[in-house]
């Protein structure tokens, strides 16, 4: 449409993609690999670029998201273990009780805790929170990226926010900076 090359159109979004990948994956190397895979897939599929109505960034994010989930699925098949963060989060929620908007936490100066909490969330919740908070995407755009209906975006976001606040409250209860259940963030 614009006569620009793939690199000219897609590479300006490298920072955003990397940041998203960095918060999804455990370390910088994994994030770089994920971003590189995303760009190669996008390059190969550029002729079929399907998200024109939303621009190239959501399309790239969608590819990144799917690549990440595929990688996670492979890991799951390999390990067959229950995700510890799911158990931890459920336990924390049970200890603190239902939050339904009652949890009051001042988030100023809690960036490290926010990072830890993000890492403890399930990939679904982590993705939706990142897409929502970090890129100013609309619900419709998030729905396109995650391939879910808008209603699911809203409810999943709601639950992810609640779970995040539960985790942060748990940190507070156990003392600032202490990771949940003694697990160290990577």
């Amino acid at each position: 449409m614009s006569g620009k090359s793939f690199e000219e159109i897609a590479l300006p979004h490298l920072d955003v993609l990397y940041r998203y990948a960095r918060r999804l994956t455990p370390d910088a190397h994994a994030a770089e690999d994920l971003v590189q895979d995303t760009y190669l897939k996008a390059y190969k599929a550029f002729g079929k670029f399907e998200l024109r109505e939303f621009g190239v960034r959501p399309w790239l994010l969608k590819i990144l998201h799917n690549t990440f989930l595929n990688g996670e699925a492979k890991k799951k098949h390999a390990a067959h273990s229950t995700e510890p963060q799911v158990l931890d989060t459920a336990r924390a929620a049970a200890e603190i009780g239902s939050v339904e908007g009652d949890l009051q936490i001042d988030l100023d100066g809690l960036d490290d805790e926010v990072k830890r909490a993000l890492e403890q969330l399930s990939p679904d919740f982590r993705s939706i929170l990142l897409l929502w908070a970090s890129m100013e995407l609309s619900y419709q755009e998030i729905a396109e990226i995650l391939s879910v209906p808008i209603g699911t975006v809203m409810s999943r976001l709601h639950r992810a926010r609640q779970q995040m606040m539960t985790l942060l409250a748990d940190y507070k209860l156990r003392g600032r900076g202490e990771p949940l259940n003694g697990r160290e963030a990577t």
């Binding site: 998203y20 770089e32 971003v35 109505e53 939303f54 339904e100 609309s138």
Partner: protein, 305 residues
């Protein structure tokens, strides 16, 4: 309304996803309920905290180089394949062309050629205010790209072509019919502006020779660079940004369904506003009219800060 539904509604409000028509009612509720207001503030604080964490990370300079190198490799491999396939195909194609010319001869050359672009946007002062126009060549030297002259085509046919080209920046959007305002469509162009914002812009002409340009983008655009910029409430809950620029041009912009619509014409702003009120880029309705809870989502007209 259950507590969860209420929370979802407040979250949609905090995220700017509530239609203008519903916003006032929510704001009235918020004024009465400190708890609800606190919930909205918490959502915004959580978003801000996540954003801070997000922007901390930066890729290394080598990553971009590595990606470019891999793409180059891939391209070279593909072009090698293409060259071999192409050579074989060329012989076959040459044979077909020779046979076709013999059979149908000159009729092949009577196809209507695409006219050069009428420099729709260059004729107007839009580039002074949109602030993002690098890739649209009609704003620069006027070299042809995706612009096509609509000529005698009806609006419906032009929209059908744009849809077929997947050129409309938003699903369901269409170039407006301005015949009531005595303007006929003359050309359209689909291009990408900087930040890869997709845009369709079209030129309309009146019988008296006046030109009007309509822009539709895939995301809200902010007018900037105009000396006089003001907000005006329009019909159907729209909030117009109105600018008057040099040369007697006026510009009217508004956001609709996550898109921006911009009208630019050499006429007073009041006249352009009247035309803007008649423009329905997504058809006559603002959104599906369903139950109130669903309508909150489905008819959202985000007003992002």
């Amino acid at each position: 309304m259950s507590r969860t539904q209420r929370s979802l509604q407040l979250a949609a409000y905090a995220d700017g996803e509530v239609a203008a028509a519903h916003r006032a009612a929510i704001e009235q509720d918020l004024a009465k309920s400190p708890a609800a207001m606190r919930e909205v503030e918490d959502i915004r604080a959580q978003r801000a905290a996540l954003h801070r964490v997000f922007i901390e990370a930066s890729p290394t300079a080598e990553l971009a180089e590595r990606i470019q190198a891999r793409i180059r490799e891939d391209r070279q491999r593909a072009s090698g394949r293409t060259w071999r396939i192409g050579l074989a195909s060329a012989f076959a194609a040459a044979a077909v062309i020779m046979m076709s010319v013999r059979l149908i001869g000159p009729e092949l050359w009577h196809q209507e050629l695409v006219s050069p672009p009428p420099l729709a946007a260059r004729a107007l002062a839009v580039n002074a205010v949109l602030g993002a126009h690098r890739a649209c060549s009609t704003l620069g030297d006027g070299t042809a790209h995706d612009e096509f002259r609509v000529g005698q085509k009806s609006i419906a046919e032009a929209n059908r072509i744009l849809k077929a080209l997947r050129a409309m920046p938003k699903e369901g959007a269409a170039l407006p019919d301005l015949s009531e305002s005595k303007f006929a469509l003359s050309s359209a162009c689909a291009c990408a502006l900087v930040s890869n914002c997709e845009v369709v812009h079209a030129t309309y002409n009146s019988a008296g020779g006046a030109t009007l340009s309509v822009w539709m983008s895939d995301r809200p655009l902010a007018l900037s660079g105009a000396s006089k910029l003001r907000k005006v409430s329009g019909e159907a809950g729209r909030v117009y940004q109105v600018a008057e620029v040099a040369g007697g041009y006026s510009i009217v912009q508004w956001d609709e369904r996550l898109a921006s619509v911009v009208l630019c014409g050499q006429m007073p702003a009041d006249q352009l506003l009247k035309i803007a009120d008649r423009v329905q880029p997504f058809g006559s309705a603002l959104g599906p009219s369903v139950g109130p809870r669903v309508a909150l989502v489905m008819t959202a007209l985000p007003q992002r800060g």
